[in-house]
């Protein structure tokens, strides 16, 4: 039965209290451990389709008569677009329509960052559209850009109200501490660079707007476009069958879909608006840079008594305050914590959520600070983390729905114990070391989410839900869940998704929520179908329904009898069994979080500053694992993406003009396969007994969170140098080594001179 309740909803660490309709979650959890299908490694059901190029991405959508849109963007960091004249564009061959910020409200004449869109042209070919954009006459009224985050804060240029948090009395705690450390950490702005750039193809079927879009949230795009275009939500149909990555940057509709929709309305033809790689690196979101001024105090026994942080997020022209302060507030059982988080409004591109926004940045600062503290205390980093473990949620004392961080630490021990052997490999040039870092994140998902299961007389089972698979393999995981519940093989189940007109509401694929939000709904739908199958079976073979179950493709009776499933389903002919399922509520009064620890082994060339990461062991606690193979992919992907922001990725701005210097993958250095270390991946794989019918949490984000700090801590272990700024490129590494040499000279401790 559906109930209307008041509940907390969390996405990407942002909570809000909402009214929501929830369905009872009637199914008991399965026993822990690998089952027949769930918990067994499963190759992606669409793997071959993808490898053969048969999977249709938004980038592959080519509709008859389709026009191509190109966008006029500001070339400078701060300018107003005055007197825009699109008429010269309309006179060019192939150009069918043009629009500008003077006539539509989703484009802004105040171009506050390089790449801000002010006008667009639709033409028969993309080349003609680009020529049209070139022809648009604009008077740019330029002014001095504001680029320095500290200066923006000093001037009161904020994107939103600052966020302060306090528990206990930090100043008193630090005054009474045996050891206090203080340091400033910085993280850079990095770019998502999904393989598929942001794009949409829009066309109108009567009054219905059909939108093919590369998105993480089919239903969010539907609602956002309906609202902005003044349509009823069901008059917008959103389609995304396959997607080439999003990482948080594709949670919304984006101006490109509005441009395509409006140009399509004007021309009566389908319009494709796809960002180029350069546009992607200019104006499609980024992980904002941060400055973190942190303090920690501890007693000599290792009890951390106080943590304090002043955080500045360099948000850009617009955006929201990602929780850089979150890890400091949540990771450890510390009584006295005070944080202040401010968001600088700058003439740089707006931030967008990027795989654990805020927590990646904040964990780098906090977990490095913890090792600096441990160094002064003379306490082993793993032991220091154990001693400060939070047994109940530190924000408001709620119990955790489940937490196995101590088990993660236990399993980290053999990896941590390798440090003696690793350090012993050091020579004059290469210094070796090992470091670790912990991780906390959300990832519990929530209602509402729905799924249907259709069972036909041929024995086929189809899961229908209008969710998206953003490339993580959700499609396969959903099939596994349905197959397990229906007692059939994975091959018997297919999943139809990706179309708001052809399935029920499904939640956003962000905040590590797809598995924990959608999985229970799919199991619930499959459970409903199973119940109906057994009802029919009870009638067919004159058994009590409670004595029947589905297993191995058979209907099994507790009296020993069994019948192939086909022998029942074959009787259906054109009749179908339709199961319906919904995601139940989250446990009330409990905090649902994910945890983990990573151990990194590095080697540092103290001459050139080159850093080589040799091995990373990742141990994560995300409840039940549905597909160990898919889960491993998430860990490997998260770690590799983290290697990028740790060592080489950096969106570089000209410090004077704010121009983006890294607009292509030639200048913006993503890791290559030659940079990827050995990755060892372990899961606690213990179902969260309080969370839904699955006990599974999300894993998309946790693996990217602790990697940078683990590497930086390993570098300290190898060299003694404190690296406090990302990326740790060769120059940064040498700066840290030089600072160490100076500090040692000052303290009279003579050491061999380090390079300047």
């Amino acid at each position: 039965m559906a109930r209307l309740i008041r509940t907390e909803k969390e996405v990407e660490g942002r909570y809000e209290e909402v009214w929501t309709v929830v369905e009872e979650d009637a199914l008991d959890q399965w026993p822990a451990g690998p089952l027949e299908v769930v918990g067994q490694p499963a190759q992606r059901q669409d793997g071959l389709q993808r490898a053969r190029g048969e999977a249709r991405y938004t980038a592959d959508v080519r509709l008859p008569g389709m026009l191509h849109a190109a966008v006029l963007r500001s070339g400078v960091a701060r300018a107003d677009a005055r007197a825009i004249d699109v008429l010269p564009a309309l006179e060019l061959p192939g150009v069918q329509a043009a629009l500008s910020c003077e006539e539509v409200d989703f484009l802004d004449a105040e171009a506050g960052y390089p790449g801000a869109a002010v006008a667009a042209v639709a033409a028969d070919t993309i080349e003609q559209a680009r020529a049209g954009v070139e022809a648009i006459a604009v008077e740019w009224d330029e002014s001095e850009p504001l680029l320095d985050p500290d200066e923006a804060i000093a001037r009161g240029q904020l994107v939103s109200e600052s966020s302060s948090y306090e528990r206990g009395d930090l100043e008193a705690a630090l005054a009474g501490a045996d050891v206090v450390v203080e340091a400033e950490y910085r993280t850079q702005s990095v770019l998502h660079n999904s393989m598929e750039t942001h794009q949409a193809v829009c066309h109108w079927e009567g009054d219905t707007l059909v939108v093919h879009i590369s998105t993480q949230y089919i239903w969010g795009v539907r609602d956002e476009l309906a609202e902005k275009l003044g349509l009823r939500p069901d008059d917008v149909r959103v389609v995304c069958e396959f997607m080439g990555g999003g990482f948080g940057a594709k949670n919304g509709a984006g101006d490109y879909s509005l441009i395509a929709a409006e140009l399509s309305r004007r021309t009566g033809r389908p319009v494709r608006c796809a960002l180029t790689r350069r546009e992607e690196n200019l104006a499609a979101g980024n992980r904002n840079a941060t400055i973190q001024r942190l303090r920690a105090g501890a007693r000599s026994d290792g009890t951390i008594v106080g943590l304090g942080g002043e955080f500045v997020n360099a948000v850009g022209w617009s955006g929201w305050l990602a929780g850089t302060d979150g890890p400091m507030q949540m990771l450890y059982g510390v009584d006295n914590v005070a944080t202040m988080l401010r968001g600088a409004k700058l003439n740089s591109a707006p931030m967008a959520a990027f795989r654990a926004p805020g927590f990646v940045e904040g964990t780098f600062g906090l977990e490095c600070l913890l090792d600096e503290l441990g160094g002064k205390l003379g306490i082993d980093p793993l032991e220091l983390r154990r001693r400060n473990h939070a047994d109940a949620d530190v924000l408001d004392g709620r119990p955790y729905s489940s937490k196995s961080l101590l088990e993660c630490y236990r399993r980290a021990e053999p990896h941590w114990d390798r440090r003696h052997e690793v350090r012993a490999r050091s020579d004059e040039t290469w210094k070796h070391g090992v470091g670790l870092a912990s991780q906390v994140w959300y990832g519990g998902g929530g209602p509402p989410s729905y799924a249907w299961v259709r069972v036909g007389s041929d024995g086929s089972m189809t899961v229908v839900t209008a969710m998206q698979d953003i490339g993580t393999g959700s499609r396969t995981a959903m099939a596994q869940i349905a197959a397990e519940e229906l007692g059939v093989s994975l091959a018997q189940v297919r999943v139809e998704l990706g179309d708001s007109a052809r399935g029920p509401f499904a939640s956003i694929s962000a905040g590590s929520s797809t598995i924990p939000s959608m999985g229970p709904a799919v199991r619930s739908a499959a459970g409903d179908a199973r119940r109906q199958i057994l009802e029919l079976a009870a009638q067919r073979w004159q058994k009590e329904q409670r004595t029947l179950s589905l297993k191995g493709g058979r209907i099994v009776c507790s009296d020993g009898g069994s019948w192939p499933l086909e022998s029942l389903l074959g009787l259906l002919e054109d009749a179908q069994i339709l199961g319906m399922g919904a995601r139940g509520p989250n446990p009330t009064g409990m905090r649902v979080l994910t945890f983990g620890v990573q151990v990194a082994e590095v080697a540092v060339d103290v001459g050139t500053g080159e850093i080589r990461v040799g091995r990373i062991a990742a141990i994560h606690d995300v409840g039940r694992i549905i597909n160990p193979l898919g889960a491993r992919s998430q860990v490997e992907g998260g770690i590799i993406q983290a290697l990028g922001h740790t060592l080489s990725e950096h969106r570089l701005l000209d410090p004077r003009t704010g121009t983006v210097l890294t607009q292509t993958l030639d200048a913006y250095k993503l890791p290559t396969i030659a940079d990827v270390p050995e990755i060892v991946c372990e899961f606690v794989d213990e179902p969260d007994s309080h969370l839904t019918n699955l006990g599974a949490k999300g894993l998309g984000e946790p693996p990217i969170i602790p990697t940078a700090a683990a590497i930086a801590n390993a570098i300290r272990d190898a060299t003694g140098a404190d690296v406090r700024s990302l990326p740790i490129d060769r120059e940064e590494m040498l700066r840290a080594l030089a600072a160490l040499a100076r500090a040692k000279e000052r303290s009279g401790d003579r050491v061999a001179a380090r390079p300047a």
């Binding site: 001459g607 080489s648 030639d666 290559t672």
Partner: protein, 263 residues
């Protein structure tokens, strides 16, 4: 855009004489980037991939002749790799396997970028560049061929035919610093020969000045040589690194290269 594909060297030189604006293309690993980035819009491309005379390498009286169409993948293979080991090492650091299979020595010479990976190893081996046109063939020392950043001594009607060098058969190496482990343009690079026969150290640095630069010194000056190399370079700050870092890294690379070659 017109693409002209000559089938012989004579034909290629005739086309170049008639159409001096035609941009030569072999592997295209530089030119296609220019086209994609809209930095160049040549009206005519001169496709040299079907000119057999430019391919491969040969040896006459000890002198090596490396065709301008020699690919990096070919330069990595024995026996050539044993004759010019520093060039083989440099070739291994170029791009990805695909780029090494397409990219040619002639491309590095034609582009004349100070970051061209093949240039320092050729410079320390005293390479001569063979240039051809309908007017005839001439030869220039590589140091004279490279006249500025992305500028060389080619006349409009000329093509790079080959590189000639007499292998020193002396210990040599190539080192490169990049922002990641593969597919990088050098932040800085260095080739070094420890020539005991001539009692000489020769080093050439890349990505540390407007052109690839050669520094020589007597073997006795080994102790100061790394400083000499760093002082000779004239690096700048750019997206890949700072001048200060480049000079520092050159000193470190030179020191290590000498350790390796003088061991």
């Amino acid at each position: 855009m017109e693409v002209l594909t000559p089938r012989s060297l004579d034909e290629a030189l005739s086309v170049k004489a008639e159409r001096p604006d035609a941009r030569p293309i072999a592997g295209g690993t530089d030119l296609l980037v220019e086209l994609n980035f809209d930095r160049a819009r040549p009206e005519t491309l001169l496709n040299l991939n079907e000119v057999p005379e430019l391919r491969g390498w040969s040896r006459e009286n000890g002198t090596l002749r490396l065709g301008s169409g020699l690919t990096y993948a070919e330069a990595m293979r024995a026996p050539l790799a044993e004759l010019v080991p520093a060039l083989a090492e440099a070739s291994r650091t170029v791009g990805s396997p695909q780029i090494r299979t397409r990219g040619t020595l002639g491309g590095n010479l034609g582009t004349a970028s100070p970051a061209g990976d093949a240039l320092p190893p050729l410079l320390v081996e005293g390479a001569q560049v063979e240039l051809g046109s309908l007017r005839g063939v001439r030869s220039l020392p590589l140091s004279e061929f490279l006249v500025g950043p992305k500028r060389n001594a080619l006349e409009p009607d000329e093509l790079v035919l080959a590189v000639r060098l007499l292998p020193s058969a002396q210990p040599q190496t190539f080192m490169k610093v990049g922002p990641r482990n593969a597919m990088v343009i050098a932040v800085c690079s260095l080739a070094l020969v420890a020539d005991r026969e001539r009692g000489e150290l020769r080093a050439a640095y890349g990505s540390s000045g407007p052109v690839v630069g050669l520094v020589t010194a007597p073997l006795e000056e080994r102790d100061h040589f790394a400083d000499t190399v760093a002082a000779a370079a004239s690096p700048i700050d750019d997206v890949r690194g700072t001048a200060i870092y480049r000079r520092h890294a050159l000193r470190v690379l030179a020191e290590r290269a000498m350790e390796r070659c003088l061991a």
